[in-house]
Amino acid sequence: MPNLGRRCIKLIIVSGHGRRVYCEDVFDLIDRLTRADRFPIPNSFLSEFLRATGQPLLSAVHAASWRKSYAQARRVDLEPVVRVGFGGIMPLDWRLLDRDDPMVSKLLGEALELDLGADGFSIPLRGRSGEYGLFSVCCPEDASPLLSPRHALIRRLMAMSAIFHSSVRDAFTGESHVDVRMSDPELACLRLKAQGTGDHEIGVALGAGPTAVRFWLETARARLHAVSVAEAVEEACRMGLVQVRAERLRPAIETAPADFSSIDRRER
């Protein structure tokens, strides 16, 4: 399960006995996965699915015996996480699965036998080409307290899943990893944020409300593949998208453009 620190997000897999068996930076993992060779899996429901959709498969870790039984039992139609995940857009908290449902308890039992966690989240993904995806994170039930607070964790996972998805998509299409084209409102909000200006003051400076300011900061965060607005500001500075002056709040407002067209295009 991910340990969601600020600068570095680690993917840590813990065995059922609490022993750490795997640890890697999530973004290193994403980079590695997007560069990985892709092998279609023969004789499985996944290969049928991929053939039907014309998409290559990134990687798969299930044993052949598992895939065979999964396909034979048509569990892709029955598995609650897959069914809800592909059919909906709401994040799925596994705690809310009906564990009295025979199918759910059977699947969770098999997952435990394979040392997979029985608690977790699944995040449905939708892509700009109309593609669907499902990003799941699981952990043993005895590690569930680590999944709190749920709201903040879901938000982090939503951000991470979208970064993962776009990284995979870009790897397939050969596009650049991060879309550095930013809109004028995004650049203006990032620049003022980098100067330490509050949302309300940024709104005053730009003639917008704080709701709109936080909206443009969020779209900028997503565009920069950052997991938080603070990281997006750092990333924008590092990439030279915005240049920060030493002055703080007052100068920030006084020097803010009356309209976005006056922003130096070199900052974009």
Binding site: V84, F86, G87, G88, I89, M90, P91, D98, D101, I123, L125, R126, G127, R128, S129, G130, H151, A152, I154, R155, M158, A159, S161, A162, H165, R181, M182, S183, D184, P185, E186, G209, T211, A212, R214, F215, E218, T219, R221, A222, R223, F260
Partner: protein, 218 residues
């Protein structure tokens, strides 16, 4: 009552879907100046309905649809990004997993002077509170509303039109407005006032159907 219907499960609830499309049809017919093609049934079911959105339905005491809208994540295909490309600053897409789009808001009695304000207020309030609750559950930061002029006017008159995000856009002869809501208490308050005590947590119809099937099996 608010019911959530994932698009994937729409075939299980044909009556509710028919009622929702009929509301859209009524709104299209009432819209002065809309091209005549828009009054046909097929014209009110658009491409975005094929993307399995999450439908939010306000049901009355008889469990008939009194209002509806649909939700789509902005990481995927949306009206704002794909039908109105270019309306946003620098023509860049709005794409964030924490921002969803609400569109095709439709209300029973909209455009009908005989409809009571109280019923309309209750439906708008219920839908708005449900939207905020759904968005909080999904840990979203913002919702974008893409509404036609009549819905935008209805919301504006009730003080819950959101913040303007882009200039009005035009499609099929209708003006469309993109507005912004920030998820949280500030969004909740005006809708809660309209909903009054008619608010109850949304019910997921797909979950209900699965429960029914489980009961049948056992």
């Amino acid at each position: 009552m608010i019911a959530l219907l994932p698009g994937e499960s729409r075939a299980l609830f044909p009556r509710l879907m028919d009622e929702m499309y009929d509301l859209r049809l009524g709104a299209a017919r009432a819209h002065a100046g809309r091209p005549s093609g828009a009054v046909h049934r097929l014209a009110v079911v658009d491409y975005f309905d094929s993307l399995d959105p999450l439908y939010v339905l306000a049901l009355d005491e008889m469990e008939c649809v009194a209002g509806a809208l649909r939700l789509l994540p902005t990481t995927g295909v949306t009206m704002l990004n794909d039908a109105f490309a270019g309306a946003l600053p620098d023509g860049l897409r709005v794409e964030s997993p924490l921002i969803w789009e609400a569109s095709r808001l439709t209300l029973r009695g909209a455009g009908d002077s005989r409809a009571t304000d109280a019923a309309m207020n209750r439906t708008i309030g219920q839908l708005g509170v449900a939207l905020n609750a759904i968005a909080q559950t999904a840990a979203l930061t913002h919702l974008i509303g893409v509404f036609d002029r009549s819905m935008h006017r209805l919301l504006s008159h009730r003080g819950c039109a959101g913040e303007t995000l882009a200039p009005p856009m035009r499609i099929d002869g209708a003006d469309m407005f993109a507005v912004l809501y920030e998820v949280g208490a500030a969004m909740d308050a005006p809708f809660q006032t309209l909903a009054g005590d008619a608010w109850a947590p949304p019910i997921n119809l797909a979950d209900l159907e699965r429960l029914r099937q489980t009961d049948c099996r056992s």
